[in-house]
């Protein structure tokens, strides 16, 4: 039995770009189960927050404590970027790549990649160069690549932003399945509808500050801050 990586405890974390503080100070605790949705307007700091948790941003102040060592924690998480990173490889090779890094034999890695590609609806595109996929297909490929190592913790930065309704539904089902298998999910979105469907907990972030954090039901039923209320109403109107 390996040590769990969660809960995660963040205290007074700040990220700066030169003279500008783009995130924080934020404090939050990430529990062991469920789906946490990071909700907020464009430029609110969702991407920065997720990247900071994943260790991709240097914090100028504050602390970030996993329940296991940092190295161990980073090994057991995966990240789906808002702009998917497309390798100069075929779809199936791109998805298999994380397993190749783990020295899984190439045949096994490719077989596993083909299976996961099937789950996200890319079965027909396995041998295509990844660069020719459509925007939505690239997102699905990035999700498959993130899932292939069976991470304990999965970050997704607006994974459905460029997907149509049907694809969004497929992705949400895959994520629900991953959650049922014990994967902890932290996902950003600006879609209140998606938050409603998926969230167990919600972090509402605005101008680099976490304005609200708590169970999804309570938040969606009655947001406490003006900004959150405006965001929810605005989203419903549009």
């Amino acid at each position: 039995m390996v040590a769990p990586l969660l809960p995660l405890s963040v205290r007074d974390a700040e990220v700066w770009r030169g003279p500008t503080r783009i995130l924080g100070p934020v404090s939050l605790d990430l529990g062991e189960t469920g789906i946490t949705i990071v909700l907020g307007p464009n430029g609110g700091g969702k991407t920065t927050l997720l990247r900071t948790l994943h260790g991709l941003e240097r914090m100028r102040r504050g602390s970030l404590k996993w329940s296991c060592s940092r190295e161990e924690a980073l090994k057991r998480q995966a990240f789906v970027f808002q702009q998917p990173v497309i390798m100069r490889r075929s779809v199936v090779e791109s998805i298999a790549y994380p397993l190749l890094l783990d020295r899984v034999p190439k045949r096994d890695a490719l077989a596993r990649a083909a299976e996961i590609a099937g789950n996200v609806g890319l079965a027909k595109h396995l041998e295509l160069p990844a660069q020719v996929l459509s925007g939505g297909e690239k997102q699905k490929m990035a999700l498959a690549r993130a899932l292939i190592r069976r991470p304990d913790l999965l970050f997704l930065d607006e994974p459905c932003a460029s997907l149509d309704g049907e694809s969004t539904h497929e992705i949400e089902e895959i994520l629900q399945r991953a959650k049922a298998d014990g994967t902890r999910i932290v996902m950003s979105t600006h879609s209140v509808g998606q938050a409603r469907r998926m969230a167990d907990q919600i972090l509402f972030i605005h101008q680099g500050q976490i304005l609200e954090a708590g169970p999804a039901d309570a938040f969606l039923a009655g947001p406490q801050t003006l900004e959150a209320r405006a965001h929810i109403n605005g989203d419903l109107l549009s």
């Binding site: 994943h54 991709l56 980073l74 090994k75 995966a78 990240f79 970027f81 990173v85 497309i86 390798m87 100069r88 490889r89 075929s90 790549y97 994380p98 890094l101 041998e127 295509l128 160069p129 660069q131 020719v132």
Partner: protein
């Protein structure tokens, strides 16, 4: 114009007649330059990748130096290598002067900066794209360099071919260190220089056409080989 036609005709006659001297120096040109390109690529490509991936204080300095070294005058390189390998020089004991080995060394010095520079340029762009993903996936430094080298292999082939192109047509350095000795260190470029000096323009031109054909042939061959490996877009 007549000279050029005469040169072409002469070249044809030499090639069709399997002129032994021509084949000898052509093969020597090819083996010296291909060996030099191979060695320079083995040094220059990973160096280019390493410079793209690592941030350290001397990095900019090394890159600036590489760029400056790209324009090294071959004669000066030849001279320096000559002095180093001459009997009284620091590496004189190896007795390499006036051998093809020292010609290879001179060419490696000439083209490694070019190969490293061109490779660095291509890999840096790819690294900007891959950075977050490779960090996120916990790829080791070695794995990162490997992925970047593999995924930019087309650009790297171009880097190597650029080096090959410069080396195969180079005359100043190998003339000095190799000495243009018949049946020993004479290659196409030094033979051209010699024949031109003697006033044998037709023969010189003929050799020149063979040299051009050689350069084209190697480029075609490598591009063809790299294309058949996979039919997709890269």
């Amino acid at each position: 114009m007549n000279d050029i036609l005469a040169g072409l005709e002469h070249a044809l006659r030499l090639v069709v007649g399997f002129d032994p001297t021509l084949y000898e120096i052509t093969l020597r040109s090819l083996s010296v330059t291909l060996t030099a390109t191979l060695i320079a690529s083995l040094i220059g490509l990973p160096l280019g990748a390493w410079l793209s991936v690592n941030r350290f204080r001397a990095r900019r300095f090394i890159i600036a130096t590489l760029n400056a070294l790209m324009g090294l005058p071959p004669v000066v390189v030849g001279l320096i290598v000559f002095v180093i390998f001459s009997r009284s020089g620091p590496l004189g004991i190896f007795g390499l002067l006036f051998t093809t080995k020292v010609m290879i060394i001179a060419q490696v010095i000439l083209i490694t900066p070019i190969i490293a520079s061109v490779a660095h340029q291509a890999i840096r762009e790819l690294w900007a794209e891959y950075h977050d993903l490779l960090i996120s996936l916990n790829a080791t430094r070695f794995q990162r360099i490997k992925a970047l080298l593999w995924d930019s292999r087309r650009a790297l082939l171009t880097a190597s071919l650029t080096g090959f192109g410069r080396a195969v047509g180079e005359v100043g350095a190998i003339m000095i260190v190799g000495g243009n000795i018949d049946h020993s260190t004479r290659v196409l470029t030094t033979a051209i220089a010699l024949e031109t000096g003697k006033g044998n323009f037709a023969l010189a031109l003929a050799l020149g056409f063979v040299l051009i054909a050689l350069a084209l042939g190697v480029n075609y061959a490598l591009h063809f080989l790299s294309r058949t490996e996979r039919s997709s877009r890269w």
